[in-house]
Protein backbone atom coordinates (compact mmCIF):
# COMPACT_ATOMS: atom_id res chain seq x y z
CA UNK A 1 0.00 0.00 0.00
CA UNK A 2 1.29 3.44 -0.84
CA UNK A 3 2.25 5.63 2.05
CA UNK A 4 0.38 8.84 2.38
CA UNK A 5 -0.47 11.26 5.16
CA UNK A 6 -3.93 9.73 5.26
CA UNK A 7 -2.93 6.12 5.58
CA UNK A 8 0.47 6.03 7.18
CA UNK A 9 -0.95 4.11 10.14
CA UNK A 10 -1.22 1.04 7.92
CA UNK A 11 2.07 -0.80 7.91
CA UNK A 12 2.19 -4.09 6.03
CA UNK A 13 5.40 -5.07 7.75
CA UNK A 14 3.78 -5.02 11.17
CA UNK A 15 1.56 -8.11 11.52
CA UNK A 16 0.55 -7.21 15.05
CA UNK A 17 -0.76 -3.80 14.22
CA UNK A 18 -4.39 -3.20 15.21
CA UNK A 19 -6.61 -2.00 12.41
CA UNK A 20 -9.88 -0.18 12.64
CA UNK A 21 -12.38 1.31 10.20
CA UNK A 22 -12.03 4.57 12.08
CA UNK A 23 -8.66 4.78 10.37
CA UNK A 24 -9.35 6.15 6.87
CA UNK A 25 -6.28 4.47 5.47
CA UNK A 26 -7.39 1.05 6.64
CA UNK A 27 -10.97 1.65 5.52
CA UNK A 28 -9.67 2.51 2.06
CA UNK A 29 -7.53 -0.59 2.05
CA UNK A 30 -10.51 -2.82 2.80
CA UNK A 31 -12.83 -1.25 0.25
CA UNK A 32 -10.05 -1.36 -2.35
CA UNK A 33 -9.56 -5.01 -1.48
CA UNK A 34 -13.29 -5.68 -1.92
CA UNK A 35 -13.07 -3.94 -5.29
CA UNK A 36 -10.11 -6.10 -6.32
CA UNK A 37 -7.86 -3.06 -6.56
CA UNK A 38 -5.06 -4.22 -4.28
CA UNK A 39 -2.65 -7.10 -4.45
CA UNK A 40 0.41 -8.46 -2.73
CA UNK A 41 1.11 -7.43 0.86
CA UNK A 42 -1.79 -4.96 0.99
CA UNK A 43 -4.24 -7.62 -0.09
CA UNK A 44 -2.84 -10.00 2.49
CA UNK A 45 -3.32 -7.42 5.28
CA UNK A 46 -6.92 -6.81 4.26
CA UNK A 47 -7.68 -10.51 3.87
CA UNK A 48 -6.18 -11.42 7.23
CA UNK A 49 -7.89 -8.53 9.02
CA UNK A 50 -11.30 -9.49 7.69
CA UNK A 51 -10.77 -13.13 8.52
CA UNK A 52 -9.41 -12.70 12.03
CA UNK A 53 -11.32 -9.69 13.38
CA UNK A 54 -15.08 -10.16 13.90
CA UNK A 55 -15.61 -6.40 14.04
CA UNK A 56 -13.79 -5.73 10.79
CA UNK A 57 -15.44 -8.74 9.23
CA UNK A 58 -18.91 -7.43 10.15
CA UNK A 59 -18.27 -3.97 8.71
CA UNK A 60 -16.73 -5.43 5.55
CA UNK A 61 -19.73 -7.69 5.13
CA UNK A 62 -22.14 -4.78 5.48
CA UNK A 63 -20.17 -2.74 2.96
CA UNK A 64 -20.28 -5.63 0.53
CA UNK A 65 -23.98 -6.34 1.14
CA UNK A 66 -24.85 -2.67 0.60
CA UNK A 67 -22.88 -2.88 -2.64
CA UNK A 68 -24.83 -5.96 -3.66
CA UNK A 69 -28.11 -4.13 -3.01
CA UNK A 70 -27.32 -1.87 -5.97
CA UNK A 71 -28.25 -4.85 -8.11
CA UNK A 72 -31.86 -4.14 -7.22
CA UNK A 73 -31.82 -0.94 -9.23
CA UNK A 74 -33.56 -1.47 -12.56
CA UNK A 75 -31.28 -1.38 -15.53
CA UNK A 76 -32.93 0.24 -18.49
CA UNK A 77 -32.60 -1.50 -21.80
CA UNK A 78 -32.88 1.48 -24.08
CA UNK A 79 -35.49 0.86 -26.79
CA UNK A 80 -34.02 0.50 -30.24
CA UNK A 81 -36.14 3.40 -31.44
CA UNK A 82 -34.48 5.67 -28.89
CA UNK A 83 -31.07 4.70 -30.17
CA UNK A 84 -32.10 5.46 -33.74
CA UNK A 85 -33.72 8.69 -32.65
CA UNK A 86 -30.39 9.80 -31.23
CA UNK A 87 -28.68 8.61 -34.37
CA UNK A 88 -31.12 10.58 -36.52
CA UNK A 89 -30.55 13.74 -34.52
CA UNK A 90 -26.79 13.47 -34.80
CA UNK A 91 -26.83 12.76 -38.53
CA UNK A 92 -29.39 15.48 -39.12
CA UNK A 93 -27.11 17.96 -37.44
CA UNK A 94 -24.14 16.76 -39.44
CA UNK A 95 -26.11 17.15 -42.68
CA UNK A 96 -25.74 13.54 -43.71
CA UNK A 97 -29.34 13.25 -44.75
CA UNK A 98 -32.32 11.44 -43.34
CA UNK A 99 -32.23 8.04 -41.74
CA UNK A 100 -34.61 5.45 -43.07
CA UNK A 101 -35.58 2.61 -40.79
CA UNK A 102 -36.71 -0.86 -41.74
CA UNK A 103 -39.76 -2.80 -40.58
CA UNK A 104 -38.11 -4.08 -37.42
CA UNK A 105 -37.95 -0.62 -35.91
CA UNK A 106 -40.65 1.10 -37.89
CA UNK A 107 -43.60 1.85 -35.68
CA UNK A 108 -41.55 1.94 -32.50
CA UNK A 109 -40.51 5.50 -33.19
CA UNK A 110 -41.90 7.93 -30.72
CA UNK A 111 -44.01 10.85 -31.82
CA UNK A 112 -41.33 13.43 -31.17
CA UNK A 113 -39.23 12.19 -34.04
CA UNK A 114 -38.09 14.90 -36.38
CA UNK A 115 -40.50 15.18 -39.30
CA UNK A 116 -37.61 14.75 -41.72
CA UNK A 117 -37.34 11.09 -40.83
CA UNK A 118 -39.47 9.10 -43.29
CA UNK A 119 -41.01 6.02 -41.79
CA UNK A 120 -40.51 3.84 -44.82
CA UNK A 121 -39.16 0.42 -45.27
CA UNK A 122 -36.04 -0.42 -47.19
CA UNK A 123 -33.98 -3.55 -47.34
CA UNK A 124 -31.06 -2.29 -45.31
CA UNK A 125 -31.27 -1.56 -41.59
CA UNK A 126 -30.98 2.10 -42.20
CA UNK A 127 -29.18 4.24 -44.68
CA UNK A 128 -28.11 7.78 -45.19
CA UNK A 129 -28.86 9.66 -48.38
CA UNK A 130 -31.37 11.69 -50.27
CA UNK A 131 -33.95 10.33 -52.63
CA UNK A 132 -35.92 11.92 -55.51
CA UNK A 133 -39.51 12.22 -54.39
CA UNK A 134 -40.79 15.11 -56.60
CA UNK A 135 -42.98 13.73 -59.48
CA UNK A 136 -41.92 16.64 -61.77
CA UNK A 137 -38.51 15.02 -61.99
CA UNK A 138 -40.05 11.88 -63.46
CA UNK A 139 -42.07 13.84 -66.07
CA UNK A 140 -39.00 15.78 -67.13
CA UNK A 141 -36.95 12.60 -67.38
CA UNK A 142 -39.58 10.90 -69.62
CA UNK A 143 -39.81 14.01 -71.83
CA UNK A 144 -36.07 14.08 -72.36
CA UNK A 145 -35.91 10.38 -73.29
CA UNK A 146 -38.90 10.60 -75.65
CA UNK A 147 -37.53 13.72 -77.35
CA UNK A 148 -34.20 11.99 -77.88
CA UNK A 149 -35.83 9.03 -79.59
CA UNK A 150 -37.87 11.29 -81.91
CA UNK A 151 -34.80 13.31 -82.83
CA UNK A 152 -32.87 10.18 -83.66
CA UNK A 153 -35.60 8.94 -85.99
CA UNK A 154 -35.91 12.32 -87.73
CA UNK A 155 -32.18 12.41 -88.34
CA UNK A 156 -32.29 8.95 -89.93
CA UNK A 157 -35.07 9.94 -92.38
CA UNK A 158 -33.20 13.11 -93.33
CA UNK A 159 -30.03 11.21 -94.08
CA UNK A 160 -31.96 8.76 -96.25
CA UNK A 161 -33.29 11.54 -98.54
CA UNK A 162 -29.89 13.18 -98.69
CA UNK A 163 -28.32 9.93 -99.90
CA UNK A 164 -30.95 9.57 -102.65
CA UNK A 165 -30.29 13.11 -103.90
CA UNK A 166 -26.56 12.50 -103.93
CA UNK A 167 -26.95 9.48 -106.17
CA UNK A 168 -28.88 11.58 -108.76
CA UNK A 169 -26.25 14.29 -108.69
CA UNK A 170 -23.55 11.70 -109.29
CA UNK A 171 -25.37 10.61 -112.47
CA UNK A 172 -25.62 14.19 -113.73
CA UNK A 173 -21.98 14.85 -112.96
CA UNK A 174 -21.07 11.77 -115.04
CA UNK A 175 -22.91 13.16 -118.09
CA UNK A 176 -21.43 16.64 -117.75
CA UNK A 177 -17.89 15.33 -117.34
CA UNK A 178 -18.19 13.23 -120.52
CA UNK A 179 -20.30 15.59 -122.64
CA UNK A 180 -17.49 16.36 -125.09
CA UNK A 181 -16.87 12.71 -125.76
CA UNK A 182 -20.54 11.85 -126.06
CA UNK A 183 -21.18 14.73 -128.52
CA UNK A 184 -18.32 13.75 -130.77
CA UNK A 185 -19.46 10.16 -130.78
CA UNK A 186 -22.85 11.30 -132.12
CA UNK A 187 -24.40 8.45 -130.37
CA UNK A 188 -28.01 8.03 -129.60
CA UNK A 189 -26.93 7.30 -126.10
CA UNK A 190 -25.69 10.84 -125.83
CA UNK A 191 -29.14 12.18 -126.47
CA UNK A 192 -30.59 9.84 -123.93
CA UNK A 193 -28.04 10.84 -121.40
CA UNK A 194 -28.69 14.52 -121.70
CA UNK A 195 -32.46 14.04 -121.69
CA UNK A 196 -32.69 14.57 -117.93
CA UNK A 197 -34.49 17.51 -116.40
CA UNK A 198 -31.58 18.30 -114.12
CA UNK A 199 -29.49 19.36 -117.16
CA UNK A 200 -31.83 21.48 -119.21
CA UNK A 201 -35.10 21.68 -117.31
CA UNK A 202 -37.28 20.95 -120.35
CA UNK A 203 -37.24 17.26 -121.13
CA UNK A 204 -39.50 17.61 -124.16
CA UNK A 205 -37.16 19.89 -126.02
CA UNK A 206 -34.49 17.29 -126.14
CA UNK A 207 -36.51 14.19 -125.87
CA UNK A 208 -35.68 11.41 -128.20
CA UNK A 209 -38.73 10.48 -130.18
Amino acid sequence: MNKSPENDTVNPSDPDQDFSFSDPGFSELVTSYLDGEVSGADAEIARRSIKESPEIRLVAQDIQRAWDLLDFLPVTVSPEAKTFETLALVLQESGSGPVVLDDSVNGELSTNLPPQIPERSISSKFRVGSRVTNPLWKVALIAVVFGGILGFLALGVLRFFEASQTEKIKQVIGVVENIQFLRDANDIDFLKAIAVPELFGQPDSVAVP
Binding site: T31, I63, A66, L73, P79
Partner: protein, 199 residues
Protein backbone atom coordinates in the same frame (compact mmCIF):
# COMPACT_ATOMS: atom_id res chain seq x y z
CA UNK B 1 -13.45 6.27 -33.11
CA UNK B 2 -10.58 6.98 -35.47
CA UNK B 3 -12.98 6.42 -38.36
CA UNK B 4 -15.53 8.72 -36.70
CA UNK B 5 -12.90 11.42 -36.36
CA UNK B 6 -12.32 11.17 -40.11
CA UNK B 7 -16.01 11.73 -40.80
CA UNK B 8 -17.24 8.14 -41.17
CA UNK B 9 -20.93 8.31 -40.23
CA UNK B 10 -21.32 4.55 -40.43
CA UNK B 11 -18.71 4.17 -37.71
CA UNK B 12 -20.53 6.71 -35.60
CA UNK B 13 -23.74 4.71 -35.94
CA UNK B 14 -21.93 1.69 -34.56
CA UNK B 15 -20.71 3.70 -31.60
CA UNK B 16 -24.19 4.98 -30.81
CA UNK B 17 -25.69 1.50 -31.04
CA UNK B 18 -22.96 0.09 -28.81
CA UNK B 19 -22.94 2.78 -26.12
CA UNK B 20 -26.44 4.28 -26.11
CA UNK B 21 -27.86 1.99 -23.43
CA UNK B 22 -24.79 2.24 -21.20
CA UNK B 23 -24.71 6.02 -21.32
CA UNK B 24 -28.44 6.19 -20.72
CA UNK B 25 -28.18 3.99 -17.63
CA UNK B 26 -25.22 5.92 -16.26
CA UNK B 27 -27.08 9.19 -16.67
CA UNK B 28 -30.27 7.77 -15.22
CA UNK B 29 -28.39 6.75 -12.09
CA UNK B 30 -26.72 10.15 -11.98
CA UNK B 31 -29.77 12.39 -12.41
CA UNK B 32 -32.45 9.99 -11.18
CA UNK B 33 -34.88 11.02 -13.89
CA UNK B 34 -35.74 8.97 -16.95
CA UNK B 35 -36.59 11.83 -19.32
CA UNK B 36 -33.63 13.96 -18.26
CA UNK B 37 -31.38 10.95 -18.76
CA UNK B 38 -32.73 10.47 -22.26
CA UNK B 39 -32.21 14.14 -23.13
CA UNK B 40 -28.68 14.06 -21.77
CA UNK B 41 -27.91 10.84 -23.64
CA UNK B 42 -28.80 12.51 -26.92
CA UNK B 43 -26.85 15.60 -25.93
CA UNK B 44 -23.82 13.44 -25.08
CA UNK B 45 -23.69 11.92 -28.54
CA UNK B 46 -24.27 15.29 -30.18
CA UNK B 47 -21.32 16.69 -28.21
CA UNK B 48 -19.17 13.70 -29.14
CA UNK B 49 -20.00 14.15 -32.81
CA UNK B 50 -19.20 17.86 -32.70
CA UNK B 51 -15.94 17.26 -30.85
CA UNK B 52 -14.86 14.16 -32.79
CA UNK B 53 -12.02 16.06 -34.43
CA UNK B 54 -10.45 16.65 -31.03
CA UNK B 55 -10.44 12.99 -30.03
CA UNK B 56 -6.96 11.54 -29.47
CA UNK B 57 -6.36 7.82 -29.83
CA UNK B 58 -4.30 7.63 -26.63
CA UNK B 59 -7.49 8.21 -24.66
CA UNK B 60 -9.84 5.24 -24.32
CA UNK B 61 -13.04 6.10 -26.13
CA UNK B 62 -15.33 4.87 -23.34
CA UNK B 63 -13.51 7.11 -20.85
CA UNK B 64 -13.89 10.09 -23.15
CA UNK B 65 -17.57 9.34 -23.71
CA UNK B 66 -18.36 8.91 -20.00
CA UNK B 67 -16.41 12.06 -19.18
CA UNK B 68 -18.67 14.06 -21.49
CA UNK B 69 -21.78 12.37 -20.09
CA UNK B 70 -20.68 12.99 -16.52
CA UNK B 71 -19.94 16.66 -17.20
CA UNK B 72 -23.36 17.09 -18.77
CA UNK B 73 -24.99 15.43 -15.77
CA UNK B 74 -23.11 17.67 -13.36
CA UNK B 75 -24.09 20.77 -15.32
CA UNK B 76 -27.73 19.73 -15.34
CA UNK B 77 -27.77 18.95 -11.62
CA UNK B 78 -26.14 22.28 -10.77
CA UNK B 79 -28.29 24.32 -13.15
CA UNK B 80 -31.57 22.77 -12.19
CA UNK B 81 -31.30 20.77 -8.98
CA UNK B 82 -35.03 20.66 -8.33
CA UNK B 83 -35.73 18.96 -11.65
CA UNK B 84 -33.39 16.11 -10.94
CA UNK B 85 -33.17 13.28 -8.49
CA UNK B 86 -36.89 12.75 -8.50
CA UNK B 87 -37.56 9.20 -7.42
CA UNK B 88 -38.03 6.96 -10.40
CA UNK B 89 -41.40 5.28 -10.40
CA UNK B 90 -41.02 1.76 -9.22
CA UNK B 91 -43.71 -0.80 -9.73
CA UNK B 92 -43.81 -4.30 -8.46
CA UNK B 93 -42.62 -5.56 -11.78
CA UNK B 94 -39.82 -3.04 -11.78
CA UNK B 95 -40.83 -1.59 -15.11
CA UNK B 96 -40.36 2.04 -15.91
CA UNK B 97 -42.19 4.20 -18.41
CA UNK B 98 -40.69 4.58 -21.89
CA UNK B 99 -38.21 1.82 -21.32
CA UNK B 100 -37.74 -1.82 -20.63
CA UNK B 101 -36.24 -2.10 -17.17
CA UNK B 102 -35.07 -5.20 -15.45
CA UNK B 103 -33.59 -5.51 -12.01
CA UNK B 104 -30.07 -6.89 -11.87
CA UNK B 105 -30.79 -8.78 -8.68
CA UNK B 106 -32.13 -12.27 -9.07
CA UNK B 107 -33.68 -12.22 -5.63
CA UNK B 108 -37.37 -13.05 -5.77
CA UNK B 109 -40.03 -11.24 -3.81
CA UNK B 110 -40.28 -11.01 -0.91
CA UNK B 111 -36.59 -10.27 -0.38
CA UNK B 112 -36.61 -10.39 3.37
CA UNK B 113 -38.55 -10.17 6.53
CA UNK B 114 -41.59 -8.12 5.56
CA UNK B 115 -39.85 -6.05 2.89
CA UNK B 116 -41.03 -5.96 -0.69
CA UNK B 117 -38.64 -5.57 -3.55
CA UNK B 118 -40.11 -2.19 -4.48
CA UNK B 119 -39.27 -0.92 -1.01
CA UNK B 120 -35.70 -2.12 -1.34
CA UNK B 121 -35.38 -0.44 -4.72
CA UNK B 122 -36.69 2.82 -3.30
CA UNK B 123 -34.27 2.63 -0.37
CA UNK B 124 -31.30 1.89 -2.61
CA UNK B 125 -32.27 4.71 -4.92
CA UNK B 126 -32.51 7.10 -1.98
CA UNK B 127 -29.13 5.96 -0.67
CA UNK B 128 -27.55 6.55 -4.07
CA UNK B 129 -29.14 9.99 -4.30
CA UNK B 130 -27.79 10.86 -0.87
CA UNK B 131 -24.22 10.65 -2.19
CA UNK B 132 -22.61 13.70 -3.70
CA UNK B 133 -22.20 13.76 -7.50
CA UNK B 134 -18.62 12.53 -7.56
CA UNK B 135 -19.31 9.72 -5.12
CA UNK B 136 -22.37 8.69 -7.10
CA UNK B 137 -20.45 8.73 -10.37
CA UNK B 138 -17.65 6.65 -8.87
CA UNK B 139 -20.10 4.09 -7.49
CA UNK B 140 -22.08 3.82 -10.72
CA UNK B 141 -18.99 3.53 -12.90
CA UNK B 142 -17.45 0.94 -10.63
CA UNK B 143 -20.59 -1.09 -10.04
CA UNK B 144 -22.40 -0.97 -13.36
CA UNK B 145 -19.58 -0.26 -15.79
CA UNK B 146 -17.07 -2.35 -13.82
CA UNK B 147 -14.43 0.30 -14.34
CA UNK B 148 -11.13 0.27 -12.50
CA UNK B 149 -10.08 3.06 -10.18
CA UNK B 150 -7.71 4.24 -12.90
CA UNK B 151 -10.50 4.58 -15.45
CA UNK B 152 -12.75 6.30 -12.94
CA UNK B 153 -9.92 8.71 -12.17
CA UNK B 154 -9.63 9.64 -15.85
CA UNK B 155 -13.34 10.34 -16.10
CA UNK B 156 -13.55 12.35 -12.89
CA UNK B 157 -10.14 13.94 -13.40
CA UNK B 158 -8.79 12.58 -10.11
CA UNK B 159 -5.56 10.88 -9.11
CA UNK B 160 -5.37 7.25 -7.91
CA UNK B 161 -5.34 8.09 -4.21
CA UNK B 162 -8.21 10.54 -4.58
CA UNK B 163 -10.29 7.90 -6.34
CA UNK B 164 -9.51 5.36 -3.65
CA UNK B 165 -10.64 7.80 -0.94
CA UNK B 166 -13.70 8.78 -2.94
CA UNK B 167 -14.86 5.21 -3.50
CA UNK B 168 -14.21 4.34 0.15
CA UNK B 169 -16.25 7.26 1.44
CA UNK B 170 -19.01 6.47 -1.04
CA UNK B 171 -19.19 2.79 -0.07
CA UNK B 172 -19.13 3.50 3.65
CA UNK B 173 -21.82 6.13 3.25
CA UNK B 174 -23.91 3.82 1.11
CA UNK B 175 -23.67 1.17 3.81
CA UNK B 176 -24.73 3.67 6.49
CA UNK B 177 -27.82 4.66 4.49
CA UNK B 178 -28.77 1.06 3.86
CA UNK B 179 -28.25 -0.35 7.34
CA UNK B 180 -31.99 -0.43 7.91
CA UNK B 181 -32.50 -2.46 4.76
CA UNK B 182 -29.58 -4.72 5.54
CA UNK B 183 -31.12 -5.56 8.89
CA UNK B 184 -34.33 -6.68 7.22
CA UNK B 185 -33.20 -8.63 4.20
CA UNK B 186 -31.55 -11.96 4.12
CA UNK B 187 -27.89 -11.76 4.97
CA UNK B 188 -25.28 -13.00 2.67
CA UNK B 189 -24.13 -16.25 4.24
CA UNK B 190 -20.91 -15.92 6.19
CA UNK B 191 -19.60 -19.00 4.39
CA UNK B 192 -19.64 -17.08 1.10
CA UNK B 193 -17.17 -14.56 2.38
CA UNK B 194 -15.07 -17.34 3.91
CA UNK B 195 -14.85 -18.94 0.48
CA UNK B 196 -13.81 -15.63 -1.02
CA UNK B 197 -11.14 -15.18 1.57
CA UNK B 198 -9.77 -18.67 1.10
CA UNK B 199 -9.36 -18.26 -2.65
Amino acid sequence: MIRVREGDDEAFKELIIRFHGRIHNFLKHMVGNEQTAEDLTQETFLRVHRARGRYRARCRFASWLFTIANNLALNRIRDNPSANLQPLPVTESGSLPMSHSTPRASVQEPVGKGMERAEVVAAVRAALDALNENQRAAIVLSKFEEMSYEEIGKILDLGPQAVKSLVNRARVRLKSHLLGVLDQIQSRPIEDMDEDLNE
